[in-house]
């Protein structure tokens, strides 16, 4: 008799684990090296780091490989691993103005101070599936290297008169092979990574100089809320909101942002003042001297976004700003974060939006809870059936209502619990 799905637990688990392990190594292809994961699937690695809330490309690539590409599984592995890491120190706050830019664009201004630095992006590359035959790949790479060499030294910071694809190509040698044409623009930008560090002035400073922004600085400098030490609940400060947004799952963020667009109060949408991808320094205070020491660099994406304040109770003469920052190159996440930071601020940090941001966007939690549905639930299911039968009996009058509990449990008296008013 198939009693339940719980027979022979230990054997079943061991068998399942064997299957997983064998499955990972199945097939004739060689094992993915970690370098291949970080170099060829870098955006997956970047995303996992953001959602696991742990900067470590080496560990993240392990997680992606072990999870066989399952983003959520990789996130869970890395987050659980993070739990086992000891806290050695707290980093010193950094000014995001220190970000060493790899890419920086602004939708709000055509020519922001410091120029648009297109950097490495797919935004203007046609979304065409590359169908190049596998055996042609080597020749393709050789051609690419040749064309990059020709354009070396070309300045990469340029103002845009328009965001048309054609403008880029006028300035570069167009290679013969049309299959490579679309990607040349991207490659020019790759070359830019080896140029001088870029530290353009921030659009925010420009906005402040134009006296357009709501002043949200209070002069206070409270300790950031540590969401790993204290669960965040509505009413928690902005640092808690930003922390939860930074750890949130990208799809959830995008979708939640998208959902808010259909809210009648959202007339238009915010406009990003700056989208940046670059390196931020990580500093801790030296244990002996107490002086700040840079110990690492972390690659992040950050976004500042501006919104027109248009609700009756808001200051209509000003613009408000939202901010988002996450590990790795993940622009859609940072843009959604900034938009949601604004939304929470406008609605108030005890609002329904705030509540949803604080507790429903975490990928590890949402996925874990969803998948737990696969666990046995036959004990409570039997209880549900019991209630249905009781209600049905009342409706049809076929049976008397289930007896006021008559069955004593061993060791306990029969319970007929009385009133609580």
């Amino acid at each position: 008799m198939g009693y339940s799905n719980a027979k022979g637990g230990e054997e079943a688990i061991l068998a399942a684990e064997q299957l997983v392990r064998r499955g990972r190594e199945a097939g004739s292809s060689p094992r993915l090296t970690l370098d291949q994961v970080t170099e060829r699937l870098r955006l997956a690695v970047d995303r996992v780091m953001g959602e696991a809330s742990l900067w470590s490309p080496g560990l993240a690539s392990r997680a992606v490989r072990q999870a066989e590409g399952d983003q959520f599984e990789a996130m869970q592995l890395l987050r659980a691993h993070r739990s086992t890491l000891p806290r050695l120190a707290y980093s010193e706050p950094v000014e995001v103005a220190e970000l060493r830019v790899l890419r920086r664009v602004s939708s709000a201004f055509r020519n922001p101070p410091g120029s648009q630095i297109l950097g490495r992006t797919l935004d203007y590359v046609g979304r065409l599936l590359d169908l190049m035959p596998e055996q042609d790949h080597e020749r393709y790479v050789a051609e690419l290297e040749a064309s990059v060499g020709h354009s070396h030294g070309h300045g990469h910071g340029h103002s845009h008169d328009g965001h048309t694809h054609g403008d880029h190509e006028h300035e570069h040698r167009v290679p013969e092979n049309s299959a490579t044409r679309d990607l040349v623009g991207e490659l020019q930008a790759v070359a830019a990574e080896s140029d001088d560090d870029r530290n353009p002035p921030r659009v925010m400073d420009l906005m402040r100089a134009m006296d357009l922004l709501v002043e949200r600085r209070t002069g206070e400098d409270p300790e950031p809320y540590d969401v790993t030490r204290q669960p965040a609940r509505p009413g928690a400060p902005r640092s808690a909101v930003l922390s939860m947004l930074a750890r949130a799952e990208t799809g959830a963020l995008v979708h939640f942002w998208y959902k808010l667009r259909f809210d009648p109060r959202s007339a238009g949408h915010e406009i990003p003042g700056e989208v940046r991808h670059g390196w931020l320094p990580l500093r801790v205070n030296h244990p002996l001297t107490g002086n700040p020491v840079q110990v690492a660099e972390v690659r992040v994406t950050d976004v500042e976004t501006y919104d027109d304040l248009d609700r009756p109770d808001e200051d209509r003469s000003r613009i408000d700003v939202g901010y988002g920052l996450c590990f790795g190159h993940n622009e859609r996440k940072a843009i959604a974060m900034a938009g949601l930071d604004l939304a929470v601020h406008r609605d108030g940090n005890s609002s329904e939006v705030a509540q949803q941001v604080l507790i429903t966007l975490d990928g590890v939690e949402a996925n874990g809870f969803l998948e737990h549905l696969k666990l046995p639930h036959h004990v409570d299911f039997r209880s549900v059936i019991d209630r249905k039968q009781a209600i049905r009996a009342l409706q049809t009058g076929t049976k008397p209502v289930a007896a006021t509990d008559a069955t004593p449990t061993p060791g306990n008296e029969t319970q007929q619990i009385g009133a609580l008013v």
Partner: protein, 305 residues
Amino acid sequence: MTTLSAELTERSVEQLAGDAAPRDIFDELSKRAVRRALLTAIAVPGYQVPFSSREMPVARGWGSGGLQATLALIGADDNVKVIDQGEDAGVNATNLRRLIVGNAGCGEETETGLADVIQSRHRIPEEPLKDGQTLVLQVPVPEPLRGVVGSMDEQRRMHAEGDYAKMWVRLYEDIVRNGVVSHSADYPCLVNGRYVIAPSPIPRFDVPKLNDSEALVVLSAGREKRIYAIPPHTRVEPLTFEDVPFTVEHTEGAACVFCGSDDTYLIGVPEEDGTTRWVCSDTDWCSRHRPDDDTETETEGEVSR
């Protein structure tokens, strides 16, 4: 920045970390956080104490909270029993048990009476618990007011003020509409006359076991990051009305096909011929109460040791 050798780095990290160094999946810092939260939970029975729930090697929703509570409590000289739906042999219970045993170096038990800490999903064992035992219940949703009001702020206010009027109205409407209280498992209960709790999806059948128990009952929700507790000898009463007494799951004529019991929580197994066979949910209890006549050939539910 100079690169230290891997070994030197590891040693430096261990020294800097002190006893928060990772020896396992749950370090001392994390254990103390749970322990401190649990002390408050015991001092304020039924109040959901927020705690810094860590991610564990089991996914959220799969017992990460119960696991943290058990690992914070258990020692090498203890015996742990882990059950899911009342069964020791379930895959999830087995997975949790081996994580606990592997981490704490404790012993394992299937016999309820011999376990010091019992971690359970959705059941309270049939064998009455004793002074000195601790029951850890895995809680998916710790908030009993979740289905009553949406705002967390309002939920917290209701608990803070002991104002459960909206809950009562909901129960009343339920009775008016359905003739009975249709709430199945995870039945809301009042603890110490003060806090309404979600007792976890244990069947209503198990609710009376919570009242005036000899054991400490710990309810831990890892995903939602809350822990609450019922000390021994504490009043726990399911919410109900004077003229609508609390009823438990019951099917007339049902008895366990293995042990013959009709006063333990039974699970119905639908057969192909349309009939239902009933078996005890608590496999350990069932295995210990077989009739003397040992002609049983079916051994489902027993854990071979």
